[in-house]
């Protein structure tokens, strides 16, 4: 709807990314842009028979409009939930010339996405706090017990408490490291940290396995249980530490979820990329979980996840880093027959 009272502004307001409604001094609609029509679900014909309060049909809105029109408030704002979406309304008075009188401008914004992000952020924070408080409770309880006991009683429990404490500190450290990686990825900062170089795929695979055997208790036998085969001279292009980080998460999962079964890693050239497949013969991933394995904090519910610590961030980070380096990561699965994770990274110039 256009208004002769707004000839110069209407072209701009027609393109405004928010809904705009202008009411005259008698609260009649003298301008409404297309976006407002859409948000309000109104038709042009409605404006001939209905006022803004009939169209919005919300008591809180009417109350806000009364305040602005009666000058008890210059501006008012509220949120309205309608048809599954959230809209923010901002009402403000617009003093015009004596000819136009005092008008009210209503600006409407669809804030559904912001509300969703808010609730997701709240949920993530809650999850993070929960994951931190568990190990902190063990540390506080066991160390507190040592400090409150007699030296004789304390010395009997000393080694057990130290062992538990080291385990929980390692767990907290790993969680903080993964959180940091996830944050860097989410904030779009990971790209700035990338330093690309030519990397021999077989060498980085073996290096990553060696590091994992040293750092992860459940992966001590990684060197003996994992066989690496395929293209020995394939060269990929990526950030050395980030590629190692991706492989670390893939190998750790494969070793943990395959029990004592062997894990195979194959390296192949695949068009303009280098393809690294990590194949385990473990419990596999249930179909219902497959869409979520790369989600933040997702951990399937099975015998292994109940006994082995994990944050549910590894695959999220691995996939994000692979994508940032111009590659991809996905998984294929056969329940009770194992899982294949396929990592593809750009080939290097010397590949």
């Amino acid at each position: 709807m256009n208004s002769n009272a707004l000839p110069q502004e209407s072209a701009l307001l027609d393109r405004f990314p928010m809904g705009v409604v202008v009411l005259d001094e008698n609260a009649r609609i003298c301008y409404m842009n297309d976006r407002a029509f859409g948000y309000l679900g109104a038709e042009s014909a409605d404006l001939l028979t209905q006022g803004i309060e009939d169209i919005v049909h919300n008591e809180a809105f009417s109350e806000c409009l009364r305040h602005v029109r009666s000058r008890t408030a210059e501006t008012q704002s509220l949120q309205i939930h309608k048809d599954g979406r959230f809209y923010s309304y901002a009402l403000s008075s617009v003093d015009e010339s004596p000819a136009l009188g005092r008008r009210v401008m209503v600006v409407i914004e669809d804030v559904t996405r912001l509300k969703t992000v808010d609730s997701i952020t709240g949920e993530f924070l809650s999850t993070i706090l929960h994951r931190l408080r568990g190990p902190l409770t063990t540390l506080k309880t066991s160390l507190g017990m040592l400090s409150s006991q007699s030296p004789e009683a304390a010395s009997a429990a000393y080694l057990e408490v130290v062992d538990m404490s080291r385990h929980e500190v390692d767990r907290l450290s790993a969680f903080v490291a993964d959180l940091r990686s996830a944050f860097v990825v989410d904030a779009g900062l990971a790209e700035k940290e990338l330093e690309f170089e030519e990397i021999n795929a077989a060498q980085i695979v073996k290096r990553s396995l060696a590091d994992l055997s040293r750092s992860c208790a459940e992966c001590r036998d990684g060197a003996t249980r994992v066989t690496v085969s395929g293209h020995e001279t394939a060269v990929l292009r990526g950030d050395f530490e980030k590629v190692k980080q991706v492989l670390h998460h893939l190998f750790k999962n494969a070793l943990i979820f395959s029990g004592n079964a062997p894990v195979c890693v194959t390296i192949a050239r695949d068009g303009s990329g280098v393809r690294i497949e990590v194949i385990d013969r473990g419990i596999g991933i249930p179909e219902r979980d497959l869409p979520y394995v790369f989600d933040k904090f997702f951990r399937g519910d099975n015998e292994i996840t109940r006994t082995v610590d994990g944050n549910g961030l590894g695959l999220y980070i691995a996939r994000a880093l692979a994508a940032l380096m111009g590659g991809s990561l996905y998984c294929e699965n056969a329940v009770d027959q194992g899982t294949v994770f396929v990592l593809t990274l750009p080939a290097g110039g010397g590949a």
């Binding site: 568990g134 409770t137 309880t141 538990m164």
Partner: protein
């Protein structure tokens, strides 16, 4: 006879450290890692107080609490909810679902000890 406490939490080291600390305080303890065993173990062990986590895979703490309160043999055992999850109205919610008390993690062992003794005493008086 020492007060018997059953600790139910899916975190292995948390169960171990809590049982050790409570044993050092003079309680008798048993720990389990899966809520699905709660009713069966509570019937067999006959604890004076149950310490119950909320965030567990499978049956969460609220579901386990419901089952304990529905079972004729275990319904009278006071349950203390202890959780790392944020609940602004944790105590109200816990009591509304039949728990005796609520303790956010991490906690002071002294606070837990007093809470256990208070709940056990209250149950004895009621019986």
């Amino acid at each position: 006879m020492n007060t018997k406490v059953l600790v139910i939490d899916d975190e292995r080291l948390l169960v171990k450290s809590t049982c050790m600390a409570l044993t050092a305080c003079g309680f008798e303890t048993r720990g389990i890692l899966d809520g699905k065993d709660a009713v069966a173990v509570a019937r067999e062990y006959t604890p004076d107080v149950i310490l119950l986590d909320i965030m567990m895979p499978g049956d969460d703490g609220w579901a386990v609490l419901g089952k304990l309160k529905a079972d004729g043999q275990t319904r009278g055992v006071p349950v203390i909810i202890f959780t790392a999850r944020e609940y602004s109205d944790g105590l109200r919610r816990a009591r509304a679902q039949g728990a005796a008390d609520y303790l956010p993690k991490p906690f002071e062992v002294e606070d837990l000890k007093e809470m256990i003794l208070r709940c056990a005493a209250a149950e004895k008086e009621a019986a």
